[in-house]
Assembly symmetry: C2
Homo-oligomer: 411 residues x 2
Amino acid sequence: MTLSIDADRLWSRLMALGEDGARPEGGVNRQALSAEEFAAWRRVIGWGAEAGMTPATDAAGNLFLTLAGADSDAAPVLIGSHIDSQPTGGLFDGTFGTLAALEAATVIAEAGTVPTRPIRVVAWMNEEGSRFAPGMMGSALFAGRRTEAATFAVRDADGVSVGEALAALHAAFADVPRLPLGFPVHAYVEPHIEQAEALEQAGNVIGVVTGIQGKVTFEVTVTGREQHAGTTPIGQRRDALQAFVRVAAGMQAAAMRVGEPVRFTIGRVEVTPNAPSVIPGRVVFRIDLRYPDNDTLGALAAELEAIAAREAEPCEVRTVRLVDEPSNGFDPALMAAIERAAERHDVPAQRLLSAAGHDARHIAPLAPSAMIFIPCRGGISHHPDEWAEKDHVAAGAAVLLDVVAEAAGVR
Amino acid sequence: MTLSIDADRLWSRLMALGEDGARPEGGVNRQALSAEEFAAWRRVIGWGAEAGMTPATDAAGNLFLTLAGADSDAAPVLIGSHIDSQPTGGLFDGTFGTLAALEAATVIAEAGTVPTRPIRVVAWMNEEGSRFAPGMMGSALFAGRRTEAATFAVRDADGVSVGEALAALHAAFADVPRLPLGFPVHAYVEPHIEQAEALEQAGNVIGVVTGIQGKVTFEVTVTGREQHAGTTPIGQRRDALQAFVRVAAGMQAAAMRVGEPVRFTIGRVEVTPNAPSVIPGRVVFRIDLRYPDNDTLGALAAELEAIAAREAEPCEVRTVRLVDEPSNGFDPALMAAIERAAERHDVPAQRLLSAAGHDARHIAPLAPSAMIFIPCRGGISHHPDEWAEKDHVAAGAAVLLDVVAEAAGVR
């Protein structure tokens, strides 16, 4: 049987989801476990119900919508991504993958056929890591990569813990049943915008993702002494901000020596007390470091730690690795299935490595996993200007539909 | 007649005022026009009333307590400082000066003598500049150094304007009458802790302040582009944080070339969106630059602006001077009176330049002005560990009492 996605429905749902957390200046602010994400949950659960899909959650606050299979004991085919956003996020990061998965499942449901295996759409909790660090929290908990105790204790800038925010989620969705963390998965496929320009520049529409590049994130705490800006002589200062500047400049120079394709970013800096006439007593900052080759990544990460220790003098410095993930590779059979589907739909495809991290990183050790990329304009993401073409969104969903239909045994 | 201050009363009032805005970790957070400062106002007005002093305010939210003089038309002797604090402030910065002034006026009132001139205690609005920038706002408005329109439009981090905060103050103290801004002043004397170590290291108790060193403060805005930390190649980044690091490192090097006694501090940094996986699109930071010699200060300030323009590439940069104050000199006759008083009380004194800015900077062009410094332990200020010895507090108040009694014509 021939199944076709409804490109208009998928597009209008993407636009509608952008209303939850819409910013007056454009884009969305729909951070993990916020009221805005709760609203998006309700919307997605409602769309799933229209197709006869059953909602569920788990101890990690992941959202699942299940289309029953003929063999209810069979491990489901899991498809989706996330629906949380950065504070200044766009309309496609995460939501494209979740809504393309919902579209594929909906088309199968509407066709009146029953797949052999259940098809389960997922929206992972806190992929972005902006409110609660680090990101990919829901998939990491699902996969047993982090402990519940440590994760639930993480607090946002207002002092709210993940545990408290999860309790609020579970209270708001009290009638949604729970699935166990780490239930068996037959296969996992995550569609996503590329967040870079390789597809656009090559004129390709489908990216067959071969793996995710390695990533190390650090939290660095520089501790000096709060003193009066107008009176404290140079030799008596322990200025945490100036120490931060030396550390950051040294790290940036080290990253530049490695060169492309290194990705070195200091995205978050908190200065205490952050008052104009007080020498800062403490600076806490985050480093996001990525590189495809694991040996190079490991050596550079160690060098950055050495630079922090050396350049922070006379301040004290403490460096903690929040994330330390090597590069991984996706399932060859699923990659081949994605390529066949792209060929059937006559859309140009290429293999590429994901520079960005995704939840698929955590699921890959549990089950055969893969990712489908579509282009995003100018490679811009994590920004209100983020944009994907409607034709590319439709092509990505059509390829996913073929892959999931094959994996779930739709006849 | 011989007048003596009550050292115990002054000390116990200093400690009591520390309860308004007391932080659980120690020190106080009693920022300008906050509920905590309102509470401190009530306390100080109450103490003034016990001595028969009349409270007043003005359009700038300064607090005045007046002890009537025999000649009610005579310009008052103005004495005091401020009672707002930094977010992590101590118990003495500002409050010592205001409460020493209250003590001096109280002793004169209790003696039953009527001075020729009124004696007016002042607590200037927003000396610290941490909630609303820049500081010394109340004295600047009083002296006509800033316009009400521009000052009232300044907003704090929560979006509350100075105008709104002043309306709340005036509503909370609706029965306190208003004095005009810039009323005639016969003389102004401001006691303060030194906030540096010169007195302590020399073993002196009284600092006869010869002037206040020049100060330039800048707000610098570096604008880049928000992009994805994991995918954006080096050559396509406009990373506002990395540009800030280059600018700050260049500025720090330029300040070090000038050397002691330069005071160069970046105390406040705001990163947007400040998310770990987003390349920062904007960094706004404040520079506090001070130097005693006006030519050197001017040349270095211009060099810092040039460094910002040069090093921010490929980001855009905008630099605004919020404060641009040359060094000034205090009134020789008042300085001599302070020295005589110190000699009478047998406390060792020395002349020194103030490295920190004070409200006296703005009043000096209006009336003969001077400052009395006392030591603070280790030079530490703008910090919960800030401390002054009870004996030094008493000595500073005793010297002030002599100076104000002479200036106001107490017989």
